[in-house]
């Protein structure tokens, strides 16, 4: 009841996105317009995103962790007992994050302040404890055990449910999706991790080796282990890491209490004679070993177990232990009743037998239904439990130490020692998130690269990162299976967005409507199944096990049913009427004769419209109510109009794409076909007209486009930020663009493009830019670079200082100090030239001295000097105090850049190109209206790439310009080409989009008609200014005395092996001598012609004479090599001869 009230209130709450829905015209549609289900059902999508948001998976997962999972962890580890004092106990009663027991919330430093001050955005973790002090039991509430990094926009974040004005007040961008953490000032994302599902049987076959195996990864809070049932020489064995030898399967079943061979046969094969034939041989195996009783079998297994135990157990006990806890560890054994386990192993065996009989009965590892996605919440939960256990054991050790002392003066209060270690959890969490190294002792898990710095290159790159899924699969392995596009990805994972190269197909992205489930309770579902007529497995005799359909709950057999279809229908009806969670999936597998119910977290699912009796359940009046704001997406779920299907259940359904496709067999209908793409691929106009790799390329490039990043972009101080001065929303939009607010934070400009050949500087995809367009602001961008300086304090009470500026004899500041203010920091707005100083810092020379040797402090100047080919302006100077009490100075340098030769541009169709020439406006071709292009693109870019979408974008864009409208290029929809050409013709243009142009140079008409119109162009972050490099003289490496390498070290340009070959072939050996030695590391050595070794100062130390010394020049690297060889007891001797014999 209470929950319902809260729900109602959230409905009534004012909401900007909904306000927009209520406007008389919403997305080009008036409320009074007639509503047709076929066209307007897409409105469910914005409604879905309004409820779910773009990064809801992350937020849901984190919320589940802090609200539910934390309590579970506390419960599992709630008691701490002392080995010394049996009276003592400490019990955790409750745990909360950022909230005290009286409900008051703690003040958190706002996220933007954390970013600026290099702090961690975190909330305190409070526990309520109960413990003994002497004879008294004491309750203590709100004990802080550490701080938990808070996911932005989760329900523990101060931005949760705050409106736009509130966000503005906190310097936060309302369009920022959240879902990341701020640790030490950097934004960190925990990527979604893809894994094979846990606690499920997977059957695989290796046809070459004739091996069939069923495996199950058991995962519990305590341990992870994998159990296999494998074939070997046509016999079936059980394999487990902790058992040294493979155990014949019948022995295992006997150990589990299935002693009768008949029963074994019944459990595994039922009364199917072909299965019996395959399996019979295994019964022999047990008989050969003379194992007939359960005890014999257990002892046999016990003798094979690898143990690392302190106390010796008997062989029998080892066997019991192995069966009870290590094999199939996720099934718990109570009172040594192994029947459940026996059934599980029998079913695994049956699956193997089935796969032997029919090789098609194997599972596909790459099938998305067999995958689970692990999110931030689960990963932090693993980490937290580990740290919490460590915390408890440390705590226990420390109280044991105190309690051990025989006679204490006072009664010991355990609370005193709980605070001592409170830093462990905080720093453990911080370290893991900031380094990305997840090392858990419990599971022996050592994972690196779990977290990534949130890329703020553009809004899209940040958004794209939030939907990214990384696979656990090794990148170096050369198998195509996991990289291939799986049909089951449809609608769940974006089909276009994957990187090129080594991670291709392994890194994926979520589609627009995807939802990832969180864990649900199993017990109530189990009870529900029994109520719906499922026969309890524990009441079933072995003979009738395989007669009916088995009902599996999260992979475990819980019963059988005679009427699977009826059962499934009933179950689904309950779900559709919200009696059970919407995210529980149920489906039948007729091959296995099984009904599977899944309640576990990490399954990928998506909403679909329910179709019954050949009719869509969503009717026009529902959509009207949705537009009127009377219904929200969740109401559609509750009313049973829409439901979530996971991949497995989707496979059990019959889904129509459009309303016209519905017939009697259809069970569901798509909400909107363009949701097969993700947020990043959604930017592409007319992607369904493009060759598919082009869409993939654009997905990679859209993330490099310079544009607006967030509403708070000028308040941010990032290491490097690229911003566009005049970003525009695209003329040709897509519905996705509107949904993800790309039109509010765009990255690109609508350029008038002429597709023609011009000047020859446009070959190989180079672009011709119009100089006047650039003058007027086309493609202008800004870079903002951060420089951080910390003023350190030293143990001897000295500290770094900032000096003022030095002046010359006229009282003017010297040139180097021109940008400094009187405080020794750069003044905001000043232009910094290369070599000028913007922080005049000095460090004490005697920082190593002790406190007592109090000599007058001497300071050494260590100014921060600006070094770059182009000057910058000082945009912001920030002084603050970081977490560890040191003064922190951040200076933001800004650089304004206009496009130049070599800057990279790209359209939204994977067509990138660099600027090849900048042409004056009067030289540009022009049309009848006097319009000249901003960009000329070479037509050779089209035939081989087949980006027809780009051509249609041009025509739609042109029509939009003429019509004064923004056109849509939505995937599988959008403005129709026919309508667009009609607009062109109506406005006096040719229907094909080709115009007659005049040459700007000769003034004559061009002999061909030119495809001419606006295309949205993105400026990519690769700019010449950041890459240009040349050197004549410069630094050399210390060791080899050769020129350094790389632009950042002002390195030389290497004349490599292949270039050397060319020079040799050409015969210019003297040039080689110059390049490789004289200009590099020439070194004069004294060589003794007698011993062939090197001496010095005209003296051979080996021969102790100066007689045969010759001076010669060799590369220093060669000299170094000789000396290194000498140090290895190898004597390289030089034998010098005259080339020209006298």
């Amino acid at each position: 009841m209470a929950a319902k009230k809260v729900q109602k209130q959230t409905h009534l709450k004012k909401d900007e996105t909904f306000e927009e829905l209520l406007k008389p015209v919403y997305k080009g549609k008036k409320l009074t317009d007639e509503i047709s289900t076929a066209e307007d059902k897409w409105n469910l999508l914005p409604a879905f995103l309004k409820v779910k948001g773009l990064v809801k998976q992350h937020l849901d997962s984190f919320n589940y962790f802090v609200d539910v999972d934390l309590r579970k962890i506390i419960k599992a580890n709630q008691l701490i007992l002392s080995d010394v004092d049996p009276e003592f106990y400490l019990k955790y009663v409750d745990i909360r994050v950022g909230q005290r027991s009286n409900g008051s919330k703690d003040y958190l430093t706002p996220p933007h302040e954390c970013r600026l001050r290099d702090m961690t955005y975190s909330a305190p973790i409070y526990v309520d404890i109960e413990y003994t002090r002497g004879r008294n039991i004491i309750m203590h509430k709100d004990v802080e055990i550490g701080r938990m990094p808070v996911m932005l926009r989760s329900n523990k974040c101060i931005l949760h449910e705050s409106d736009e004005a509130m966000m503005a007040k906190l310097n936060e961008c309302p369009l920022d999706p959240g879902g990341y953490f701020i640790v030490n000032g950097t934004e960190k994302v925990i990527l979604v991790q893809e894994q094979l599902s846990k606690n499920r049987i997977i059957v695989e076959a290796d046809e070459k080796k004739a091996i069939v195996q069923a495996s199950v990864t058991s995962s519990t809070h305590e341990r992870k282990s994998k159990t296999y049932v494998v074939t070997k020489n046509e016999k079936i064995y059980l394999k487990h890491n902790s058992i040294a030898e493979d155990i014949p399967i019948v022995v295992v079943l006997k150990a589990c209490g299935i002693v009768s061979d008949l029963e074994v046969m019944q459990l595994v094969c039922g009364n199917d004679s072909s299965y019996q034939d395959i399996f019979a041989i295994n019964l022999e195996e047990a008989a050969k070993l003379n194992l007939y009783t359960q005890q014999q079998a257990l002892e046999y297994i016990g003798s094979k177990v690898k143990t690392v135990r302190r106390q010796k157990l008997s062989v029998l006990q080892e066997g019991i232990e192995a069966i009870a806890t290590t094999v199939i560890a996720h099934l718990t054994v109570e009172a040594l009743d192994f029947r459940e386990k026996a059934l599980y192993i029998a079913i695994m065996t049956r699956r193997v037998v089935m796969a032997i009989y029919n090789p098609k009965m194997v599972d596909d590892r790459d099938y998305v239904g067999n995958k689970r996605l692990e999110l931030a919440g689960q990963l932090i939960s693993l980490l937290f439990e580990d740290l919490f256990k460590k915390f408890n054991s440390d705590f226990k050790a420390s109280i044991d130490k105190v309690l051990k002392k025989p006679n204490r003066a006072m009664e010991y209060d355990a609370l005193l020692s709980i605070n001592v270690h409170s830093n462990n959890i905080t720093s453990g969490l911080n370290r893991a998130i900031s380094t990305g190294n997840w090392s858990l002792k419990r599971f022996k898990m050592e994972r690196a690269g779990v977290t990534h710095v949130l890329s703020r290159l553009s809004y899209i790159s940040a958004l794209g990162m939030m939907t990214r899924i990384s696979s656990q699969f090794e990148k170096s392995r050369k198998v195509s299976g996991p990289r291939a596009l799986q049909p089951s990805q449809f609608g769940m994972l974006c089909t276009a967005d994957t990187p090129e190269g080594e991670a291709c197909g392994l890194v994926k992205n979520l589609a627009l409507m995807t939802h990832i489930t969180t864990d649900d309770e199993e017990e109530p579902i189990k009870k529900l199944c029994y109520l719906l007529g499922v026969e309890d497995i524990s009441l079933l005799d072995s003979a009738s096990l395989h007669l009916n359909y088995g009902v599996h709950l999260n992979g475990t057999l819980i019963g059988t049913t005679k009427y699977p279809t009826k059962f499934i229908t009933h179950f689904r009806n309950l779900r559709r009427s919200s009696k059970v969670s919407a995210f529980i999936s149920i489906y039948a597998n007729s091959h296995q004769k099984a009904v599977h119910i899944a309640t576990d977290g990490g399954r990928i699912c998506r909403p679909l419209i329910i179709v019954s009796d050949g009719q869509s359940r969503v009717k026009a009046d529902h959509l009207k109510k949705l537009l009127d704001g009377e219904l929200v997406f969740d109401d559609f779920l509750k009313l049973g109009l829409v439901e979530y299907l996971d991949v497995n259940e989707e496979n059990d359904s019959f889904i129509a794409l459009y309303e016209k496709d519905i017939d009697q067999n259809i069970t569901h209908m798509e909400i909107e076909p363009f949701t097969v793409l993700g947020a990043v691929a959604g930017l592409i106009p007319y992607p369904h007209h493009n060759q598919s790799p082009r869409n993939t390329y654009q997905c990679a490039m859209g993330k490099q486009a310079i544009g607006a990043i967030a509403y708070n972009q000028f308040k941010r101080i990032d290491t490097l930020l690229y911003l566009m001065i005049y970003p525009q929303q695209p003329m040709v939009k897509t519905k996705t663009i509107e949904l993800i607010d790309y039109d509010k934070l765009p990255a690109g400009q609508n350029a008038t493009v002429a597709v023609m050949s011009y000047s020859g500087y446009d070959i190989e995809d180079a672009l011709v830019l119009n100089k006047s367009s650039i003058d007027r602001g086309f493609g202008r961008c800004e870079t903002r670079r951060k420089n951080t300086t910390v003023l350190k304090r030293y143990p001897n009470h000295t500290q770094d200082i900032i000096g003022g500026m030095r002046v010359d004899e006229n009282g003017e500041p010297i040139w180097q100090h021109k940008c400094l203010g009187p405080d020794g920091l750069g003044e905001v707005g000043m232009k910094l030239d290369s070599g000028q100083i913007y922080i005049n810092k000095s460090i004490p020379t005697n920082s190593g001295d002790g406190v007592l040797t109090n000599t007058q402090s001497q300071y050494k100047e260590t100014p921060v000097i600006y070094r770059a080919p182009e000057p910058s302006h000082i945009d912001q100077v920030m002084m603050s105090v970081s977490d560890n009490d040191q003064a922190l100075i951040k200076v933001l340098l800004r650089q304004n850049r206009r496009p130049e030769l070599g800057d990279k541009f790209s359209s939204r169709h994977g067509q990138k190109g660099v600027c090849g020439i900048i042409v004056k406006q009067e030289d540009m071709p022009f049309n009848d209206q006097g319009i000249c292009p901003d960009i000329i693109m070479n037509p050779h870019g089209f035939p081989s790439r087949m980006t027809v979408g780009k051509m249609i974008e041009l025509i739609s864009g042109k029509a939009g310009v003429l019509n004064g409208t923004l056109e849509y290029g939505t995937c599988f929809g959008g403005s129709k080409l026919e309508d667009m050409t009609k607009i062109l013709v109506d406005n006096g243009f040719n229907y094909s989009g080709k115009d007659m142009l005049y040459s700007g140079i000769t003034g004559e008409c061009l002999q061909a008609y030119i495809f001419f119109g606006p295309i949205y162009y993105q400026k990519l972050k690769h700019m010449v200014l950041d890459k240009m490099h040349a050197r004549a003289r410069g630094p050399r490496a210390v060791l080899t005395r050769q020129p350094t390498e790389g632009r950042s070290r002002d390195g030389g340009l290497r004349l490599g092996e292949m270039e050397r070959d060319c020079v040799i072939a050409y015969g210019a050996s003297q040039l080689l001598l110059e390049r490789l030695m004289i200009s590099s590391d020439a070194f004069e050595v004294d060589v003794c012609n007698k011993c062939g070794l090197m001496g010095y100062s005209g003296w051979c130390t080996t021969c102790r004479s100066a007689e045969n010394i010759n001076k010669m020049t060799i590369p220093y690297a060669a000299k170094l090599l000789f000396q290194e060889l000498l140090s290895m007891n190898i004597a390289p001797r030089l034998r010098l001869e005259d080339i020209f014999q006298q």
Binding site: G930, F989, Y991, L1006
Partner: protein, 335 residues
């Protein structure tokens, strides 16, 4: 040869003129001033403060194009070039604001100023003869009279938007009397330069100097100057009845008329046609119409940014071309 550029379905033919000596055996086509004088014609279609539309008839493409090019890039005009910031606490960056101010067209006769000598040291470079100083001093404050529930920043704050008309002319030296009649103002006063919020302030000086469009687009006196060739429609076979109506629809309104008595389509005003080539899509008209454009009939359209009238710009372009010819004539190489 005909002087009609052929507009075909997928190509343009006969684009280059051939009335020069040595092209063909008949007639030497030698340039004749008298002939030119007799045939050349200028017709003015419309003339306003900002826009001029006129025809140059019987002139070589190269000359017409030269006028166009010169108007875009070589006719000098005045624009802010150096912006000195005294204070800028707004969100817009100095460089961006300077760029925006630079692009503001100014209403000032470029002949009133001389060129800046860039060889001089910076302190001596700018004088009252070659530089116009504009200042911008705006501070945004709250409007105490604003109604409480108001959310419009224009009412809530004063000076929340900075417009081009906020740029104030600051006469230097003799400029006060020289420009007494025509003080320097932005040609379009309502160009938005920046937005401010209470407490923010912009204070700057801009030095405006002479320049040409070839150097930077802001110095170009025209928004654009361009021409098109006069469309030419030749109906070779009579088109009547329903197809005449269809034919009419293939052109811009007012181009084709239908003779009421015969029902035949006739060309009324080819000049109004946009040459959309729509008619070429319809096969039934394939051999009844020939589209073309008159190669030596240039319909100029000159759009001024506001400093000068368009005809002045055109005349200046003529003068510049003349000076160039003059220079070439006296150039040592030609002699």
């Amino acid at each position: 040869m005909s002087n009609i550029v052929g507009i075909e379905y997928n190509r343009v033919t006969n684009t280059t003129s051939n009335d020069f000596p040595g092209y063909s055996k008949e007639g030497d086509n030698e340039w004749d001033v008298e002939k030119f004088k007799n045939t050349f014609d200028v017709q003015i279609e419309s003339l306003t403060e900002r826009e001029a539309n006129f025809d140059l008839i019987h002139i070589d493409t190269s000359i017409a194009n030269a006028f166009r090019r010169i108007m875009i890039s070589e006719v000098p005009s005045l624009a802010p070039e150096h912006v000195y910031f005294l204070n800028n606490t707004s969100v817009i960056q100095d460089e961006v604001l300077a760029h925006r101010i630079g692009l503001v067209p100014l209403k000032v006769d470029p002949d009133m100023l001389t060129w800046v000598d860039s060889t001089l040291p910076e302190e001596e470079r700018f004088t009252d003869e070659n530089t116009i100083v504009l200042t911008l001093n705006v501070t945004c404050t709250r409007n105490p009279d604003a109604p409480k529930d108001c959310t419009d920043p224009k009412i809530l704050y004063r000076n929340s938007s900075v417009y081009a008309h906020d740029l104030k002319f600051e006469p230097q030296g003799r400029q006060a009397e020289l420009f007494a009649k025509c003080p320097v103002v932005p040609a379009d006063p309502d160009i938005l330069l920046a937005k401010l919020r209470p407490g923010q302030e912009i204070s700057l000086r801009a030095h405006c100097i002479l320049g040409v469009g070839g150097d930077h687009a802001k110095f170009s006196p025209v928004a654009t100057a361009s021409y098109r060739l006069l469309p030419h429609i030749n109906i070779t076979k009579p088109i009547t009845g329903e197809s005449a109506k269809k034919f009419q629809k293939c052109f811009s309104p007012g181009v084709i008329d239908i003779d009421e008595s015969t029902g035949e389509a006739v060309v009324k005003d080819a000049r109004r046609d946009t040459v959309s080539r729509e008619v070429l899509r319809h096969e039934e008209f394939a051999d009844s119409v020939k589209l073309g454009r008159v190669r030596d009939h240039f319909i100029f359209n000159v759009e001024s940014t506001g400093a000068m009238t368009p005809e002045e710009i055109f005349f200046k372009s003529v003068r510049i071309l003349k000076n160039k010819a003059e220079y070439l004539k006296n150039c040592p190489i030609t002699q």
